[in-house]
């Protein structure tokens, strides 16, 4: 039993943390909070050299993971990036890299994967016009056409949509889900930047108006989407866990120092008990995330259940924790200067992305219902 990281993964954590502390801390991102572009592409490329976008890419295409459990490796990276509220599309780019590596043609793999691994190409991932993975929502429709496949419709809430060189678009094709690679910029594709709640990331809207790509751009259907959601949920949960962890540490430090009524406010039981609950929450976020990563990597029977567990619990715990942290900081927490609002913004806008908690819970209930129906009979 070792439900923890290996030595190699600990080394990875140290090197990434050092890089982020020295080169790309939250203070760097803060300088661009109100700019059109918040992601520093050069720093992102430097990060890619440390493997940020390479874990799910095979070695022959310039990728490679640290251990035989690439998603667990990615959890380490994502926690560290999460601690700094990094603006980069860690979820989307890794989802697309994984989809091409698993489901792409040789030519697509050799065209895109080395450039993604090097951080030269930002790949993003789109769902419906409502940002959800369900097919009933309005979104992008695809039809087989003379030139290949033609896309029409809008996808929203797409991370780093403006600036991405590649999008994996989730579309409806013959009434079924399909995942289609579209290089950007592209004829018939318009991109618009959203004004966002989360100031440390940029999202956008992609509108397809008769955009036609070769037929082999379709990587596949439901199986691609399902895998993408598993990968996304793990990485998103790990980023949330890292962010929750650092904010919790900062909150405890603040409460240990802040004196009111002649004593540190961290000595009041009303405060201590809330901090105890937050510690429990961070531990729970961690374990749900680690277990999901391990279960998907190892193909455990309960992998889908583990994804639904993390996908439903972690984002809500993250949002709860940031709210509590703000309250415990008092007035200083309501200022622009203090970082806590950036965590509140991050957690609240993280919650509904790539499958919202209630969507995961519905999946979980369906699995539970199917598994226990026999037991009660």
């Amino acid at each position: 039993m070792n439900f923890d990281f290996d030595d190699d993964q600990q080394l990875l954590r140290e090197s990434v943390r050092r890089f982020l502390d020295e080169r790309y801390p939250l203070s760097v991102t803060r300088e661009a909070l109100e700019a059109d572009v918040v992601l520093d592409r050069e720093l992102w490329r430097r990060g890619a050299e440390l493997g940020w976008t390479a874990m799910l890419i095979p070695e022959q295409h310039e990728g490679g993971s640290i251990t035989s459990q690439p998603l667990v490796d990615l959890v380490v990276l994502a926690e560290e990036l999460g601690r700094t509220l990094n603006p980069g599309p860690l979820v989307s780019t890794n989802v697309v890299a994984d989809a091409i590596a698993r489901f792409g043609l040789d030519e697509q793999r050799s065209t895109w994967l080395p450039r993604i691994a090097r951080g030269e190409v930002i790949a993003t991932w789109s769902l419906s016009a409502e940002g959800t993975p369900d097919l009933e929502a309005p979104g992008v429709d695809a039809v087989v056409s003379e030139g290949g496949v033609t896309l029409n419709g809008t996808a929203r809430y797409v991370h780093e949509a403006v600036g991405a060189e590649l999008v994996l678009a989730t579309v409806r094709l013959d009434g079924k889900a399909a995942c289609v690679l579209v290089p950007l910029p592209h004829d018939g594709v318009r991109v618009r930047r959203h004004t966002g709640l989360d100031l440390t990331r940029r999202f956008g809207e992609i509108t397809f108006t008769g955009a036609t790509v070769p037929a082999d751009s379709v990587l596949g259907g439901a199986e691609v989407l399902e895998r993408a959601i598993s990968v996304a949920t793990v990485i998103k949960s790990a980023e949330a866990t890292g962010a929750a962890e650092i904010l919790f540490e900062r909150t405890v430090d603040y409460l240990r120092d802040r004196v009111q009524f002649g004593r540190t406010i961290g000595s009041y039981q009303a405060i201590k008990h809330r901090l105890a609950d937050l510690l429990i929450e961070v531990e729970a976020m961690r374990t749900a995330t680690y277990y999901a990563a391990l279960a998907v990597d190892e193909g455990f029977e309960d992998a889908a259940e583990a994804v639904a567990t993390a996908g439903s619990y972690v984002p809500e715990a993250f949002a709860h924790l940031t709210g509590e942290s703000l309250q415990l900081h008092g007035g200083i927490g309501f200022t622009w200067e203090h970082d806590v609002h950036l965590f509140v913004r991050r957690s609240k806008s993280d919650e509904p992305l790539f499958g919202e908690p209630s969507w995961h819970r519905e999946n979980l209930f369906e699995m539970l219902d199917a598994a226990t129906l026999g037991e009660s009979a």
């Binding site: 439900f3 290996d6 105890a276 510690l279 391990l294 639904a308 439903s312 619990y313 209630s358």
Partner: protein, 395 residues
């Protein structure tokens, strides 16, 4: 990262089969109704059957690690726990927590006098720790032991002692040394047949009698019955209580999740099954996620235990997580039943013969017993996060 617990290899099939045959032949039929939690028989007849059952297990050659000097074959231990656990009937009679204390701190004489007999069902033990004025603040306990020659004379009162009404021996904490707080406490082995002991069964809010009050009036205990050294009782007790807190409630919450799913499927409102109601599905799934996370948290704690890296918050965290999830689920289990929730065990209209009604009441024990959750939160914040300790009011 590796959490695989290896499958029991096929060569243990024979062991399992013969154990199953043994269980089929010897497992006793009890009057006792299966209920949630740590419950104690109300009939002497059942106690006798349980003693015979423990004896039969022992005589058949099955040995539990808790009673053994050296750990047995881990796969055999697993098969034993799985198969005997599945009967729903206790295979260790009484509160066996003391076995660990005696193994860790006891003399060779104490070990031979008690460990063997416990494993054969000849000795039922009870734990004599909590007092009416020393619950959460156990270290303030006031039961006195006054040294008189080679005996201690014990006076005072204990409460919340499971199995005391049937116990042969007690695992007693008493204040024998002049210092206040933990330093003055000694752990003792008490013969429950000693003159001066009065046991009053305590009926709990569930209506069942699983605990007792125990009164001591000049009860004499030989100095030779001290576990460890005088004044070391806190250390001895902490070692055994730590195992109890870590073990509380493992695997219990998933059973309740399954019960809730069954209940939702078989209950209708306005002509629609609650299993098709979106809000019900969401709530039960939220419980399911928390129950699964309980398992994962347990694996993290296990990993830290194996690496000798247990933190101050591990046991309190597990206790809070399980007990509060359990309580919320059972409250919800009654809500889902609607008006039917008002009928309980014994009424023909009751759902599942009132199992959930009883479990709902018993759930209040888990958030209090073994250190109330408020004390657990103090432990996490003070010992885990290093925040200032609550000041004593009497210091």
């Amino acid at each position: 990262m590796d959490i695989t617990t290896s499958e029991v290899p096929p060569q243990y099939d024979e062991f399992r089969k013969s154990l199953q045959a043994f269980i089929g032949a010897h497992c006793p039929p009890l009057e006792w109704k299966a209920r949630t939690g740590i419950r104690v028989p109300e009939e002497e007849h059942d106690v006798a059957l349980l003693r015979q059952w423990a004896r039969a297990i022992h005589d058949a050659g099955y040995v539990f690690d808790r009673f053994a000097d050296t750990p047995g074959d881990p796969y055999e231990q697993r098969v034993l726990e799985e198969e005997l656990g599945a009967t729903g009937i206790p295979y260790v009679v009484g509160n066996a927590l003391v076995a660990g204390a005696i193994k860790m701190f006891g003399t060779p004489e104490q070990r031979s006098a008690h460990i063997g007999p416990m494993s054969r069902g000849e000795q039922i033990w009870t734990q004599l720790f909590s007092e009416p004025n020393a619950g959460s603040d156990l270290a303030s306990l006031q039961t006195k032991g006054r040294l008189d020659g080679d005996e201690y004379i014990i006076n005072g009162q204990k409460v919340w002692s499971t199995w005391a009404q049937w116990a042969d021996h007690g695992y007693l904490l008493a204040r024998t040394e002049p210092s206040p707080g933990p330093g003055g406490i000694t752990a003792l082995i008490l013969d429950m047949k000693s003159p001066g002991i009065e046991i009053r069964p305590l009926r709990e809010m569930t209506g069942t009698t699983d605990f007792n009050e125990v009164f001591f009036d000049d009860v004499r205990v030989p100095v030779a019955n001290v576990i460890g050294a005088p004044g070391e009782g806190w250390k001895v007790a902490s070692a055994s209580l730590a195992t109890e807190r870590g073990g509380v409630g493992r695997n219990l919450s998933w059973e309740t999740v399954v019960r809730l799913a069954d209940l939702a499927r078989t209950t209708s409102r306005r002509g629609t099954s609650l299993g098709d109601d979106g809000s019900v599905r969401q709530q039960i799934a939220a419980f399911a996620a928390r129950s699964r996370i309980q398992d994962h948290l347990g694996k993290r704690v296990e990993t830290r235990a194996e690496n000798q890296a247990v933190t101050a918050w591990d046991a309190p965290l597990m206790k809070i997580w399980f007990s509060e999830l359990n309580l919320e689920m059972l409250e919800y289990g009654l809500d889902l039943q609607g008006p039917r929730s008002i009928v309980a065990e014994g009424d023909e209209a009751a759902y599942d013969d009132g199992f959930l009604q009883d479990a709902f009441l018993y759930a209040r024990a888990w958030t209090i017993a073994g250190g109330s959750n408020e004390v657990m939160r103090n432990l996490i914040s003070e010992r885990g996060l290093g925040l200032p300790r609550e000041p004593r009011g009497d210091a």
